[in-house]
Structures are given as C-alpha cells and as structure tokens.
C-alpha cells in the first residue's frame, strides 16, 4: 500500500474493440496514472492488468471479431486512495464462473492474462451490465 495520498480523479475513454486499440488503452492508462502520480513500478503492473482485461474483451467477449463500430469503455477512478477500473462492453455475456486461467499445457496467447489480473489487483468483480452495456468488469486496488 502506498503512503502517498493520491488526488481523487475520474476519467474514461471509449475504444474500438480490436487488438489495435490495446496500445491506445495502455497509453490512456499511463496518462491517467501519471496525473495520479502513481509510482513507476505499480504503474507498469496496473497498465498490464488493464491491458489484459481489455485483451480479454477483444478475444473472448467479441471472439476476435474486429468491429468498426463496437466500443469498449475504460473508466479509471481514484477516491480516497482506492483505485477502481471499470470496463464496459456489449459483447457475449461473460459467465464469471468460467473465467479462470488455463492449465500450463494449454497456454495460448492471452491465456495468462487472467492470472496476471488476479495477481496485480486486489479484487476482480463482474457486475450486471446496465443498458446499453452487457458486461461490466470492475478491478480495484488500494493504493
């Protein structure tokens, strides 16, 4: 846990659902974490967790089917030193019970992503998506 008091802040951005957006997602996160003055090592880990979650949306919620119109929204908020990252998408509904990391003999691209997210974040929670969204994932971390 950080001893630094981070300012309260909220920012969100929409991205097209495709693998080319992942770099933009990372850059958005880096910018926000820069504003929040999050320490470099933690920033790298948080960017990785967020990028893995965004990758899961592209890979699993949309089955890698790039769409010129479908969006995913990433919202980063910090309140009382608690960081919350929310993801919204309109892909295939996610069954939280089926979200688990792969066995090592079945490693494929993105297969370790869920493990990384769980390692880095304090909590990973799928909430009911409210219209127009279908999936609503929330990652939290106490700073």
């Amino acid at each position: 846990m950080s001893e630094t008091a981070h300012q309260d802040h909220i920012e969100k951005k929409a991205f097209l659902v495709n693998s080319s957006s992942l770099k933009e997602v990372r850059n958005f996160c880096r910018d926000v974490f820069e504003k929040l003055q999050i320490q470099e090592d933690l920033k790298d880990e948080l960017v990785l967790a967020i990028a893995e979650a965004a990758q899961n949306i592209v890979k699993h919620a949309f089955k890698n089917a790039a769409s010129p119109t479908e969006l995913m929204v990433v919202q980063i908020s910090c309140e009382n030193n608690k960081l919350q990252i929310a993801f919204y998408d309109r892909g295939t509904p996610v069954d939280p019970k089926k979200v688990k990391h792969r066995e090592i003999d079945n490693v494929k691209p993105g297969g370790l992503g869920t493990f990384f997210i769980q390692e880095i974040m304090d909590a990973v929670e799928f909430k009911d998506g409210k219209k127009p969204w279908i999936n609503h994932l929330v990652l939290t971390k106490q700073l």
Binding site: S19, E45, V47, L112, G113, F116
Partner: protein, 94 residues
C-alpha cells in the same frame, strides 16, 4: 514491434524491440518458430522490448516447447526490466 536476425553458424540470434502484445504476437511467433522448426539454435534478445503481456509470454512458452520437440536450444540472452517483471510474475503461475 520490429526485429533483426543475426546468423552465426547454426545459431540465430533474434533481437526484438518495441511492444509485444496481442496485436503483434503472431508476428513474433512467425519470426521465431520457423527458425526452431528448421532446427536452428535460437537465442532471443529482449533488451529493447518496452512492454510485453501474456501474449508475448505464450510465444516464449511455445518456442521453448517446440525447441524441446526438435531437440534444439531456445534461450533468452537479455531481457529488459519490463520483460523481467512480467516473466517473474509468470513464473509464479508456471
């Protein structure tokens, strides 16, 4: 991501740089695996890779597995700090 391949006898030293994510994982895979498939000893230099996620780790695992099948060598010779951190995290799982 860009790459350069050095040839020394049967050894191929692959230098990757930039960011290795889902978008470029296939490019990395298609650079490394054919060289292992052809029986070359492959060394990977990741000292200039600024970011790597689980897609990149998966390429490394696939490369290692293929090298074992082909009875040749695959090794990392240099890694950047960001790659080292991701590898350390992956080792907890592997």
């Amino acid at each position: 991501m860009t790459y350069k391949v050095e040839e020394i006898d049967n050894k191929r030293i692959i230098h990757l740089d930039g960011e290795i994510d889902m978008e470029v994982a296939d490019k990395a895979r298609n650079t490394i695996l054919p060289l292992i498939e052809a029986g070359h000893e492959v060394q990977l230099n990741l000292s200039k890779v600024e970011y790597m996620d689980s897609s990149g780790i998966s390429v490394l695992i696939e490369s290692k597995k293929l090298s074992e099948q082909k009875n040749t060598k695959f090794e990392l010779i240099e890694v950047s700090k960001p790659v080292e951190k991701v590898l350390a995290m992956a080792r907890k799982f592997l």
